[in-house]
Every structure is written in structure tokens, then in C-alpha cells.
Amino acid sequence: MNQPDNPSALTGTVLNIQRYCSHDGPGIRTTVFLKGCSLRCKWCGNPESIARRPELSYDSKKCTGKKECGVCLKSPFPEGAFYVVEGGADDKVTVNWHLAMDCDEALASLCPTGALEIFGKSMTVDEVLDEVEKDSSFYRNSGGGMTLSGGECLLQPDFSAALLAGAHERGFNTAIETACNVPWRFVEQVLPHVDTVLHDHKLTIPERHKKWTGVSNERILANFKKAYETFPNADFIARTPLIPGINADEEHIRSVLAFIRPYKNVIDYELLPYHRFGLGKYELLGEVYELDDYKTPSDDLVKHLQAIIDEAFGRSGQESEGGE
């Protein structure tokens, strides 16, 4: 448990702080990616954000091999954690992910080429906000601010609430990106400090949601409804990562619209067309990406589904950016 008496000293596990973002809420924003997720979406493009704890990554492109380096093949690295395939195409290191689990930041920092890295680090609320503060002039001019993303930022409710409250104190607009698969008490703790809630409607049917994300969506939908009703002053923007063959169809879009339209504080519904950028990160973590042959949705399909959304929001005939 963190130290609730001194919110600015609370610590959380931060994956990355990305500046000059324009897709994660109004204006120019700094997005703080927190580590840990409570879903396992098979299409996830952020595998490094899933585990709650910091974890090792290995980029073979940066490895210069045993002959030139070989640092990780010796103590203090765990025995058997790294090896070189004799007779292989080169002398680069291979990671035995089962035996390299105990490699921490201190060990990874010994890798002179940066091939070994740790995804995620512990930061205090003040440390994060000081970083976010660097672009405060952009926020003022653009109406932007700080966005918490993940992983699932609601998985660290104490830290997230303190960060968002601190951002408000410094005069920044706040937003979060969430799938809301957390107990309501986490939602209730964080949302009072949020101006814009970007929330995912991934699949409509509970069984299919469970198949593709690991859990049913019944609790998620209940959280959304309760959030819409409990926080009428927050802006909610629904989102769907659009994956052909999984959820990129009219039925899903219309179901989401039927769910959100009764609530006036759900101000928009965005489509995020599936893409495969950055998915090579699975390899950096020694994991396998499960959606091998899935294609990105066609422009025509995205336009068609976007038109349905525009019509529902009374924007028929208008130009729409339609997701990313």
C-alpha cells in the first residue's frame, strides 16, 4: 500500500511518458503510460504494458555478440539466463526467458549496448508531474493537458488519483484511457479527478468479449453505466479498436451506440482501426503475438462504420477524422 498521507510522494510503476500527443484527449497532451493491465486482448499492441511489474526486454538488433561483448554471459547475470547458439548464424545472445526472470534494472544497466532494458520504473507523483509540467505552455495554448493510459491506469488507483488531482492543482486538463475492467471502488476513486474519459467498448457479446480479452464484459458495462450516471460533468468518449473478423461490423457499432446514446455526457464515439505497428515488441519480451494474420480494416469499411456513428451523433454529411 502506498502512503495516502503524502500524495505527492506516492509511487507507481510507469512505463513511459510520451510528450506532444494529439490523439489522447483535447489539445496537445503528455500521455503517461502506467504498467499493468487486467485484460489480455489478443490484438494488444502494448505487450510491454501488460505485466504489473517492471520486466526485461532484449533487442537483438542492439546486441553486438559474444566476441565483442558477452557481458551478460557472466556473473552477476543469472546462470543460464543468456546463451549463444553454437553454430548459429551469428554470435548474438539468446535469452532463456524462463531463467532470466530475475534480471532487474541494475543488471540490465550493465549491458553496454542497451540491448537489455527494463520496461517500467517506479516514479513518484511529483516526479511524473514535473515531467508533465515541462510542456505546460502547450497545454494552455491548445486546451491540452495530461492523459493517463496503460495498460490499465485504474489498476493503480491511489497513484492515478494522486497524479490526476496533482495535475488539476497545476491547472492541467486531465484525461484517462481505460477499459474499466476493475472493481467499481477503483473507478470511484479516480474519476472525480478526470475531465475526459476515453473508454473502450471492445466487444458487445459477453462470451466473445471473454474469448478475445480474457474476461466477460458484464462488469465493464456496469461500470460504464454507473460512471456515466455518477460523473455527469465528465466528458466520456467511447472507443472501439476496430479489428476485421472480430468486431469490425455494424452490429457491434450499433450496439455500442445503443448503449451510449442515452447518456448526454458521452460526447463522441471513436474508431481505432487495428494496426500492427510496434507489435515486434512481443519478440523483445520473448512472447508470441497471437493474431498472426489479421489485416487492418479497409478505408471503405472504416468510412462506412464512421458514417453510422456520425449519423447517430447528428453529424451526417460532415467530414470526420474517424479514429487514428
Binding site: S49, A51, G80, E86, A89, V215, S216, F277, K281
Partner: protein, 380 residues
């Protein structure tokens, strides 16, 4: 002293299970272990679906363990699919679970596995595993499990054994499919580029991971070989094959980098997914740009993972299963049953993990391939 467990009086109770992924011949291993255990007066039980039968017995109406009694074994078809079932993930150190708050998390259940084995009176475990599984079982052995592993690999890349079961069947299917690919290429007057299994070792292929391939060399050979009388070609590339330099058609990161991912806008976005079919596609398109011939990629992929095991794999599986029981009888744990001609040996797991049985680049195999006129993608 005998103990009363399961179906009668046994001197000892041991278990057998399989790792992730299907390999033809699993039942033969189970038969071999059951027959050898029976001879010793031991009871052999099978754990369903990796470790699932042990960790989640409530999921199985008939129980998570299968008693491999003589009657069952007598009627077991060694050519049929695995009796014990499969699980896509078999790693008790990372078991995906939904917690009491309905949140997904991977948890370490290795202690629970050991506790459950003890509770079932099982004091030895035979694991039919591939390279990844060997490391997992090594970790469990370090925690006190009496472990004996049987090597299975359709790529034959497990070190310390000359052959893993499953390889012979996969090779036979591969050759059959290559014959069909050659006929297709012949009738279409094109070059078939067939991707076969082999992430780190090229025992199934011609363009292999161990020898980085220069497409210009392959293109030059194809130019020589393709004539009006023989207007087709066949290129066999392992999925893990590497090129000396990037193909001109290799996928470039797109400019569309706005992403949910924090690192997709950074260096990491340069990584492309290693996916099934990528090697065939890269080589086929690369060759097509180098020569005035049409190419088409084909991917064998999962097709060679299934099928009826060959006689060799059935014999090998039977032998490995019985060998695992004999290792236990000899009190040898933390070992893998290995075929090191002319004998079966029990090698420490440390000799098998963190190694890959590669095709030696300077071996007589390579020289023989050259003398047969086979182009390996690079002059050595």
C-alpha cells in the same frame, strides 16, 4: 512395500504429461512409459492438458488425471492423437488466472503443482516437452520435482540427442508436400518458394538459419537451372532463415505511427513481426526482383505438425517412454532421455537447455548437399 492407490496395489505412483504444441507420436511415449511402469509394479497416471488436470481438476468430470491401466494401454492407438490432451500454455510459473476481482493476471503456481503432485501420491513426473518445456522442467526440478523429460521436436533442434520424436514424421510430410509443390511449380512454370519449419535449426530446409542466405546466389543458380526444358524452380526456406542483406521488398515501417503504443513511435516500431509465411514471402518477392521469373510463396506451417506418426517415431516414442521409467528406476532425475547412438542415455537437463542442435555449417552434410547440386544460398 506396496501402497494402495488408484486401481490396486502399486510399489510407486508416477505421472506423465505433455508440454504445449502437438507432435505426432505422443501416444507411443505414453504406451512405452505405461508398459515399463507396469513391469515394475508402478502405477502411471496421465495429467490432462499439460498441468491443467492437476491445477484445475474441477474442469474435468472424469477427473484431471487418467489412470493408464493395462486395459487402456492395450487398446490405445499409437497412431492416434495424444491421449493426454494439450494446453496452449504449459508453464506453472506463469499461469493465467482471473482473480477474485475478475482481473486477469499471470501467477506463479509452481508450488501448487508440487503440492498437488505430493497430494496425489505422485513422486516422479515424465514430461514430453520441447525446448521451452525443458527449461520449465529444469526450474521445477530445482524446486524438488523428480523430473525426467522426453524430447519432442518436429524441427529436431533439441541438443544432446541425435533425434527427437516427431521429427521423422514432420520430415516425411514435408517431403510429400514438397513433391506436390514441385508439381505445382512445374505445371505453372513458376518458382515455388516453400517455407518449412525451422526457427533456429535447418534440418527440414535448404536455405537454413545457420547459413545466412544471399538471394543473389540463389537467383544466379535458378537462372542457370531454369531452361525451356525445365521451366520451373523449387526453393525450400526455413522459417528462421536469415538473409545476408535485406531484401528490396522487406516491409518498411509505415509513416502511420499514431498509435496506442508508447513505443510504436520510437525505435521499437522498426521491429517487424516474425510470422509464419514471412520467410517465404520475403524470399519469393526478393527473387522475383532479381530474375525474370515468376515466384509464388507457399507455407507448410501447421500442416506438418499433425498426421500419423511414422514407424520411426512410434518406435522412438515407445523407446523414450520406457527409457524415462528406467531413468526413474535408476534414481536419475533432472535428466532427459536422449538417443546418442548406439545407445539411449539419460543426460542432465543442463546439457539440453540453452543449446540448439544446429546443422554444422562445416559438416559433411553440407558438403554432400553441395555435391548434389543443392544451392544453400551462400558459397562457403
Amino acid at each position: 512395500m506396496s501402497i494402495e492407490i488408484g486401481h490396486g496395489s502399486f510399489l510407486r505412483r508416477i505421472a506423465i504429461h505433455t508440454g504445449a504444441g502437438f507432435v505426432p507420436g505422443m501416444n507411443a511415449v505414453v504406451m512405452g512409459a505405461a508398459l515399463a511402469a507396469g513391469k515394475l509394479g508402478w502405477e502411471l497416471v496421465g495429467i490432462r492438458d499439460g498441468f491443467d488436470g492437476l491445477l484445475h481438476p474441477e474442469r474435468y468430470p472424469a477427473g484431471g488425471l487418467i489412470t493408464l491401466n493395462p486395459q487402456l494401454i492395450e487398446n490405445l492407438d499409437p497412431a492416434a492423437a495424444g491421449l493426454l490432451g494439450q494446453s496452449p500454455r504449459v508453464d506453472p510459473f506463469h499461469v493465467r488466472q482471473i482473480d477474485e476481482d475478475e482481473m486477469v493476471e499471470e501467477v506463479d503456481m509452481s508450488d501448487h503443482v508440487l503440492d498437488r503432485l505430493r497430494a496425489e501420491g505422485i513422486d516422479g513426473l515424465i514430461s514430453i516437452v520441447g525446448g521451452q518445456g525443458l527449461s520449465i522442467l529444469y526450474k521445477l526440478h530445482r524446486k524438488g520435482l523428480n523430473s525426467v523429460c522426453v524430447p519432442r521436436s518436429i524441427e529436431n533442434d533439441i541438443a544432446a540427442t541425435m533425434v527427437s520424436f516427431g521429427f521423422n514424421t514432420a520430415l516425411s510430410v514435408t517431403i510429400e508436400m514438397l513433391d506436390k509443390a514441385r508439381q505445382a511449380a512445374q505445371s505453372a512454370r513458376k518458382i515455388a518458394v516453400v517455407e518449412v519449419l525451422g526457427e533456429q535449426a535447418g534440418w527440414n530446409a535448404v536455405l537454413i538459419p545457420e547459413v545466412p542466405c544471399d538471394l543473389r546466389t540463389v537467383a544466379a543458380r535458378l537462372k542457370d537451372k531454369i531452361t525451356p526444358g525445365r521451366p520451373y524452380g523449387l526453393v525450400v526456406v526455413a522459417e528462421g532463415a536469415t538473409l545476408v542483406e535485406s531484401s528490396p521488398t522487406q516491409a518498411q515501417p509505415s509513416s502511420l505511427k499514431a498509435s496506442l503504443s508508447p513505443l510504436a513511435t520510437g525505435d521499437a516500431s522498426d521491429h517487424v513481426i516474425k510470422r509464419s509465411g514471412q520467410a517465404a514471402e520475403t524470399v519469393a518477392r526478393g527473387l522475383q526482383l532479381l530474375i525474370a521469373e515468376e515466384t509464388f510463396p507457399l507455407v507448410l506451417g501447421p500442416w506438418v505438425r499433425g498426421g500419423v506418426p511414422t514407424a520411426v517415431d512410434r518406435q522412438l516414442g515407445l523407446c523414450y517412454g520406457a527409457g524415462a521409467v528406467r531413468a526413474m528406476k535408476a534414481g536419475k532425475y533432472g535428466v532427459m532421455v536422449a538417443f546418442q547412438p548406439p545407445d539411449i542415455k539419460f543426460v542432465p537437463l543442463t546439457e539440453a537447455i540453452n543449446k540448439v542442435r544446429t546443422v554444422p555449417a562445416d559438416s559433411e552434410f553440407i558438403q554432400i548437399a553441395r555435391s548434389l547440386g543443392i544451392c544453400l544460398g551462400r558459397e562457403l
